[in-house]
Amino acid sequence: MSDGALIPLPPPPGVFDEMLDPAANPRPHYARYAQWLASMPAEQMAGKRGEADLIFRRIGITFAVYGEEGGTERLIPSDVVPRIIAADEWARLERGLIQRVTAINRFLADIYHGQEILKAGLIPEEQILTNAQFAVAMIGMKVPRDVYAHVVGVDLVRHGNGSYYVLEDNLRVPSGVSYMLSNRKMMMRLFPDLFGHYHVRPVEHYPALLLQTLRAAAETDSPTVVLLTPGRYNSAYFEHAFLAQQMGVELVEGQDLFVKDACVYMRTTDGPKRVDVIYRRIDDAFLDPLAFRPDSMLGVPGLLAAYRLGNVVICNAVGTGVADDKSIYPYVPEMVRFYLGEEPILNNVPTWQCRRPDDLAHVLAHLDELVVKEVHGAGGYGMLVGPTSSKEEIAAFRDRLLADPGNYIAQPTLALSSCPTFVEEGLAPRHVDLRPFVLFGREVRIVPGGLTRVALRRGSLVVNSSQGGGTKDTWVVDADAPGAPAPAAG
């Protein structure tokens, strides 16, 4: 890396860059940051990055990577260059997210009750009723205020022309919010001068909003809320502990809870204590060994029975997975129209459903151009990125696809926008996505921004932390006051 000032490198053709316009000039909402960056010596930036790594490791913000020998505690790299979103653009995203998550909650209430959307013929009945994520136990059960998905992490990407697309709606146990909060804390510690000059909207109140949302999920006064974790070997355990501490609620494991007379209690040093709301960070299948997987050691026997009687609230509700399944995803724009009578503000990525013969034929003919995903997959596992895969990889994937077409969907390979990222070669463009966190309580709240994930390998489009991704602090900035002085690097 050469000494001197940091100049961001332009992205490859056809890629939308968050910071640079096609003429390689900073976009207006990045102008002040670019000015500051230009006065920042590269070695000083490298020093800051080293400092950040050290603090992250010491605080223990680590992420477990499955199937990696000795890699049970890897640091998720946090980049020192923020991803910045202009306030007006954020306002539009926020409206789109609220609309989308509202429609999804209406959809969930509908399919577990009247099933109007199926009667209207908008979604094939068998797509829902035979879906592995459709929870028969939820049929006809009333949940407070008809809210099913209380905490949602919507993954957004940006195409070459700069428009946003929803890649997936994570409605089960979305994670990553602790990285959003840690990144902000770290950036404020490393670059206090920047925050002094920039009007970055705060995100630190997320845990308070989450607690409000969870409390609002119960119909009782001053409910006791707990966070249910699979335990310290789970990859997101740091986040579970962090959120529980920030909210001031107990972090419980399945063995800490028990059900008596259809009510849920936790075992404490003072004896049993009643639990009203469970913010669960374990999947449906592990919640209750009596109702779901009998081999689950993580859950609480009898929990579902207590839940069905309305004696405890589970957040997110059981059975939300049927709405974020990749085979249902293509219908979300229809849900917005059907339940809200509005046109969707956020786009869906065009999706081929391999269970349909026509779609399958198209996908097989274009495997080298498409991204093919498992319907129930997550975390970047079990997917094919056509353009970056070898002939052998494509051939092997073709066999798997043909063996079980219904298990796959395909989408065009989106270019994914890039953002300057501090790597070995300097400030190079790396692909990013965005996961805002939507909280659905008495009202819908979203802290400005969310988690930006970045693919640190050059050219890579996979941003998952399990696949070598990192994260960035995400800023929503208000427009500059005219004539405000630009900050200078200290």
Partner: protein, 308 residues
């Protein structure tokens, strides 16, 4: 407070205290070997006897040299009471309850583990005084951070409870083995002096002895001080002053058996004297104390930590 959390807090501090005690025993063993010269083959085994590790060491099939013993007790990952195993267990317990301790406490324990791992990666596996001092310092630091940062609530009490039950166990063991060996040895005044001062140094009480008795080191007084003195922080009496006080702060209803036993043990230490020890013999007295201490640990578990 969750029963499981109470258990993790209690064990996190017990393991840390155990690591510290192991470092103390090994440190004194090493310096004693230097001072007293060669010619005492049993000296090498002594740390194993104190920590009940003879069988495990023999099973590991290593030569019975002082270095091999120290390396085993400090660095053997397969032996659950080695320093490295204790620090690992302490951190695992802490990790499970990060939400119930302060971030400073967690960062300290995590940092201890990272430094230990770095030492091991460097291939060093040191068994010198500098390493044992480091272990003691990390333990001191954790107690200081705990004292300075955590709310005086149940989590604090369980951390302290683990410390003092473990510490009482350790002091009783050191005293029992060192005194038994001393009695067996012939009356060589110089060796005797080194043995006794080693006992005192291993529990950071050499200066305390001088302050209290202002006289030559005498074996009966060493026993008296480490059993009955209320001002020496590693004496049995001091540990049980703390244990009884802590149990008073915790919920009373589930802990009747534990409190009854603790108060009984405390009364023997508070109102007892060396004559009571003489009546049964030091060895028998300490053996009974150790057995009761184990029972107390079980009773505390049953009261607060069991997942019924």
């Amino acid at each position: 407070m969750l029963s499981r959390v109470a258990s993790h807090l209690y064990w996190l501090s017990r393991y840390l205290e155990r690591a510290e005690n192991m470092a103390r025993i090994l440190d004194v063993g090493a310096s004693l070997a230097l001072l007293s010269g060669r010619g005492d083959p049993q000296a090498a085994n002594e740390p194993l006897v104190i920590t009940d590790a003879l069988e495990a060491f023999r099973a590991a099939g290593r030569p019975a040299t002082p270095d091999a013993v120290a390396r085993f007790l400090a660095w053997d990952q397969a032996y659950p009471s080695s320093i490295v195993s204790c620090l690992a267990a302490s951190r695992e317990n802490a990790r499970s309850v990060r939400g119930s301790i302060t971030s400073e406490m967690w960062e300290n324990i995590n940092d201890t583990w990272l430094q230990l791992s770095a030492k091991r990666r460097a291939g060093a596996e040191p068994i010198d005084s500098a390493f044992f001092d480091w272990v003691k310092e990390r333990s001191h630091l954790f107690r200081g951070i705990t004292f300075a940062t955590i709310r005086r609530d149940q989590p604090y009490q369980f951390v302290r409870l683990g410390t003092f039950i473990e510490r009482a166990d350790n002091t009783a063991r050191i005293l029992s083995v060192k005194q038994a060996r001393r009695q067996a040895a012939t009356g060589d005044g110089l060796t005797d002096y080194y043995r006794l001062s080693a006992v005192l140094r291993s529990v950071s009480a050499l200066e305390a002895y001088r302050d209290i008795y202002r006289d030559a080191i005498d074996s009966r007084r060493v026993s008296e001080m480490l059993i009955f003195d209320p001002t020496v922080p590693r004496s049995l009496r001091f540990c049980f002053d703390e244990v009884v006080r802590i149990l008073e702060q915790l919920p009373q209803a589930p802990a009747r058996a534990a409190r009854r036993l603790a108060v009984h043990m405390h009364a023997l230490l508070e109102h007892g004297a060396l004559e009571d020890v003489d009546a049964v013999g030091l060895d028998a007295f300490l053996k009974r104390f150790l057995a009761n201490n184990v029972r107390l640990g079980d009773a505390v578990h049953a009261a607060y930590m069991e997942m019924k």
